[in-house]
């Protein structure tokens, strides 16, 4: 009955700690290489210091069809800066070797499938593992097409995270969870990534369905940006994934240090909501 996967990496350890403390985790997504790889290194450490429990490093792709405009623009900026999957793996190594007290933050590579496929599954898995990544998620890869991918990543003790969606049947959710390790990533709504004002009404029902088919930790993403969202998820999910809201901070900032400070402030306020529930002044505008 253990929910710690046999691949057990930093990810499952962190979720076990969160469950023990009854605290909702914060999974922070940023696009690697936006605006540069050096900047992303700073951002990751700042996010971890501010309390992000897991960090998803987005691998930029030319055709991000599951992403809304915010992450599309981030991908364009990162590609323009010359970011490649190999460069993102090198970034993972630099994070691990940074000497920062936060260098051990759990790291997930969040990619479209083609860059991984072009590198080669074996080469990708071995490079990602040796760089110090903990897991991977490919947006456009479902359990049906991923047998070899799962086998190879498991060999390298990388967690394979798959997406569950509101349109997934219970049977599919069970299948997706069975193919996942580390955590199950549940998409809150039909749609692309991007910050939204309110969470969908049917989200609690979706979470209950997911809980009914797996003991894996469940992280909820797509449309989550505000402390209020995080408060609502407390007790329902294991973690909230925040992406576009963070990427917007990077886009708006005048400098890399300014962006790092803004990211840290965002995560701190989300973490605060996760730890203590929502206080009056934090209610979203």
């Amino acid at each position: 009955m253990s929910f710690v996967s046999p691949n057990s990496t930093r990810i499952s350890k962190r979720f076990a700690e969160l469950r023990a403390s009854g605290e909702l985790g914060i999974v922070a997504y940023i696009t690697a290489g936006d605006p540069t790889i050096d900047a992303t290194l700073k951002f990751v450490l700042a996010l971890a210091e501010a309390g992000a429990d897991v960090i998803e490093l987005g691998v930029p792709f030319s055709d991000p069809l599951a992403d809304g405009p915010t992450i599309q623009r981030a991908s364009e900026r990162a590609l323009k800066a010359g970011t490649t999957l190999a460069g993102v793996l090198e970034l993972v190594r630099r994070i691990r070797q940074s000497g920062s007290p936060f260098s051990e933050v759990p790291l997930v590579l969040f990619s479209y499938y083609n860059p991984i496929l072009q590198m080669g599954l074996e080469k990708f898995a071995s490079a990602a593992a040796s760089a110090g990544a903990d897991g991977a998620l490919a947006t456009d890869l479902t359990p049906e097409e991923s047998e070899e991918y799962r086998r190879i990543l498991a060999t390298h003790r990388l967690d394979t995270i798959f997406l569950g969606a509101p349109t997934s049947t219970d049977e599919r959710l069970a299948k997706i969870a069975a193919c996942s390790s580390g955590f199950l990533y549940l998409i809150s709504r039909t749609g692309v990534t991007g910050a939204k004002d309110a969470l969908p009404d049917d989200l609690p029902a979706l979470l209950r369905r997911a809980r009914g088919v797996t003991h894996l930790p469940v992280a909820v993403g797509f449309g989550i940006s505000l402390p209020g969202h995080v408060s609502v998820l407390g007790g329902l999910a294991d973690a909230a994934v925040v992406g576009s809201a963070l990427v917007s901070e990077i886009e708006k900032a005048k400098s890399v240090d300014g962006a790092a400070a803004a990211l840290a402030a965002r995560v701190r306020s989300l973490k605060e909501a996760a730890r203590h529930g929502l206080s009056r002044r934090e209610v979203a505008p």
């Binding site: 969606a165 349109t167 039909t190």
Partner: protein
């Protein structure tokens, strides 16, 4: 071998190693629903009779198989027949598939359809079918394509369709598909995505092929009636590959029939200069198997797996990937693929206009140019069917600048 060639798809929508379903999870259950609905429609007599009726009385099928006497004489090689898909309502073969999927949307109870379009022919066909069946329709089109195919934009709007310009990437077909998929993933419960070519996730490559296979079924009967023998060669242009697979499919088990798909060679062999996915033998670089927009097939891309920009004078042929069944036919050497340049296509368009009195679409002009370039390998007792997939009205701006 022929049995395999008749029905190469597996349950997972594979053509050999190609095809499959590479989409965000949100679309998986809708794709299963679509597959089930399509499967049921295949053996549903009322669906099939409605489909046949609309092909005949709304679209204008069967289309003629015309002997191109003056072109045959001018080129001095094999006898050439043209399959006149350009005479269909809306001006191209795209209407065949739009009718099939439009009826399927009605059957599935989806009140809204969305579509992508490059040259605008699929957008116009979708808009037309939506109007005819009383469905709401939104078409995504790159702004680069909207500029070069302005007539088709106006036609869609006249038909009551909302045309949404797409500014991302190269502002062409690939980017329109990304945007259509973003719409679909958001509105999937009410919306059918009427994909226009043999691309995307299963069941699209199979379903679109089946809706287009009427081209080859008619052509096979017509050539046997006219010439008492099978053709030796089939020619068709290949963007995603729906008109070519539509012609080829009925001839797959006729081993004597050679099939030649013509891609857009653009202005050169360098990455970004062309849209030739299966013509590496001619020096067109950059295509390798990969995953784009739902399917595993040959894709023009850089070393890091980022999708390449492409160039073609033809908005209907500049997609960076090719339908997965074509990738498989190429691997099997059952069909051959080669590319011709922008200039060769323009010259061919002028030639056909002046020898046959038919102004072809720029896409179809590539097929004619491909036939001309292959003449040295053809004998005078060879017999050619060339799919004239669309008419040239939409390309008059481009043509008139060159006259």
């Amino acid at each position: 071998m022929s049995a395999i060639l008749q029905s190469p798809t597996t349950a997972a929508g594979r053509f050999g190693p190609y095809g499959g379903r590479y989409v965000p999870e949100t679309l998986m259950v809708p794709l299963f629903e679509l597959e089930r609905a399509y499967h049921a429609a295949k053996s549903d007599a009322s669906f099939q009779s409605r489909f046949s009726d609309m092909l005949k009385n709304f679209a204008g099928r069967p289309t003629p198989l015309q002997f191109a006497g003056r072109l045959t004489e001018k080129l001095g090689g094999p006898r050439i027949y043209l399959k006149r898909e350009d005479l269909l309502h809306t001006g191209a073969h795209k209407i065949n598939n739009a009718i099939g999927q439009g009826l399927l949307a009605v059957k599935m109870g989806k009140p809204r359809i969305i579509a992508e379009t490059g040259a605008g022919q699929h957008g116009v066909a979708s808009a037309t079918v939506a109007a005819h069946l009383g469905l709401e329709c939104v078409v995504y089109m790159g702004t680069e394509d909207m500029a070069r195919q302005a007539l088709n934009v106006a036609r869609m709007r006249m038909l009551g369709t909302q045309v949404v310009g797409v500014e991302s990437g190269s502002r062409t077909l690939k980017d329109a598909i990304n945007e259509a998929m973003r719409d679909w993933v958001t509105n999937v419960r009410s919306t059918h995505y009427l994909l226009g070519s043999v691309l995307g996730a299963h069941p699209y490559p199979t379903m679109v092929r089946d809706f287009q296979a009427v081209i080859g079924r008619e052509a096979r009967e017509q050539i046997l009636a006219a010439e008492k023998r099978l053709p030796t060669h089939l020619f068709a242009c290949v963007g995603g590959g729906s008109n070519s697979i539509g012609l080829f499919h009925q001839f797959l088990s006729d081993a004597s029939v050679k099939m030649i798909g013509i891609e857009a060679g653009g202005r050169g062999g360098g990455l970004g200069e062309h849209a030739a996915r299966l013509a590496a033998h001619q020096g067109f670089i950059g295509a390798r198997p990969g995953v784009l927009q739902g399917t595993y097939t040959y894709v023009l891309q850089n070393e890091d797996g980022q999708i390449a920009t492409t160039h073609s004078i033809s908005a209907g042929l500049d997609y960076p990937a090719i339908g997965p069944e074509h990738a498989w036919l190429a691997d099997q050497r059952r069909a051959e693929y080669s590319a011709v340049s922008d200039q060769a296509a323009l010259d061919a368009a002028r030639l056909l206009s002046r020898t046959e009195g038919i102004i072809p679409a720029l896409e179809s002009a590539h097929a004619i140019a491909g036939l001309i370039e292959r003449l040295p390998q053809l004998k005078s007792d060879d017999l050619v069917i060339l799919n004239l997939s669309g008419r040239g009205d939409k390309d008059m701006d481009t043509y008139s600048r060159l006259l």
